[in-house]
Amino acid sequence: MPKLSLRDLDVRGKRVLVRADFNVPVETRGGKFRITDDTRIRESLPTISYLREHGAKTILMSHFARPKGKPVEKYSLRPIGDYLHSLIHQPVIFSHDTIGEVPAKIVDHMESGDVALLENVRFQPGEEANDPEFAKALAGFGDLYVNDAFGAAHRAHASTVGVTKFVEKAAMGLLMEKELKHLRDGLEKPARPFVVILGGAKVSDKIGVLKALMEKADTILIGGAMANTFLKAEGIPVGASRVESDKVDLACELLDTAKRRGVKLLLPIDAVEAEEIQPGARMRNTSRLSPQHGISDGWQAVDIGAASIALYQDEIAKAETILWNGPVGIFEIPEFAEGTIAIAEALA
């Protein structure tokens, strides 16, 4: 069934609940909150503008950081609403609750063209648990639902997946449509060699992607904490690294599938290991990883190593089409970002 686009909906006078991705990097300097990269907010503007121009009542929702299911003032979306106001030159009505009486009253008072923003959906434990009651409460704010959060669409959360069961119509926003078009164009007839770089923390998050890409890709480069699960599947010691132990069998299966299909699935051949995951921790490059020489006991893999960077750069240089999803190290800590930066530079 073809996916509905925002353009297929009659939004005039309707309450349109939009899942955006306002999870932007920020810093607080001199007590003042500052957005250091507003790309994600700006990318949501075409959908917001379309809805305003077509007389919808726009109710925006998003996650921001990881407050773990409870209100944390520093992760409030309030300043994001203020910033959005400055971009669209229109008041953005902020609801300091995500669900309940306050947002319900705000939505009741909205007029066509108005824009409101709900508080961080991750302040509610029901968001990441995809709780149907929470999803239903969110859905109650909209006649229609639009998902424009491309960066969060892979997660089955209440505001991305659960909510769709309780609305009359759900459609993709203009950003989602644009991203999917790029992806479809790239995947349908990729120029070869087609190289996929997959990073991030969990194999379980990427199973579907990995299986689908096995049929398309020539080479798959694995990084991030996800690589640890594959290394363990190869019998390589992973020390105290983050591993999904219950997914080791799945990793074995994926490695076998790659072999059978002739897909070159590459794991890091060395790693940067650290004693702790924090800035300033003791760290070092491992020797070549093997069942005899893995990550040291008590240490954790935090980035791909120098030899892996060189290996991955070689594969990237040969590629005609590249798809990259997820960092190959804990890039939020500058000392552990070298691999991710090297990959980005190889792509640039």
Binding site: R78, D82, H85, P91, I93, F94, H96, D97
Partner: protein, 128 residues
Amino acid sequence: MGRIVTPVKIENLLDPSKKIERDALVDTGAYMMTLPNAWRGRLGDPPASRKVELHLATEETVEGEVCGPIYIQIAGFPSIAGEVLFIEMKPADGEYEPLIDYITLEQSQAAVDMMGHRLTHVRYMDMK
């Protein structure tokens, strides 16, 4: 020292019949539109979002409560949606003096003209 006082309209977004139109003092050191507790009822008791502790220039520490959503319009500038802070205020010369904060100024695209002792419209802003 110059004082900039300007008319402002404050309206409960959930009950537009509850509004206040008064002069307010521009205070770029304030971080939120600040009103006296005594005006809560006149604004229809807007929902409270959180309690905050404030350190005043007088070195006093006072408690306040943030409430909203509220429409705020500084005369001559576009209306904004935001929140207000209620604190215990003492009237000066029998009148309360609400404060207009820097975020409300930013959102309203208003800047302080120190020479003219007035607010001026900022048409372009470097958001970074």
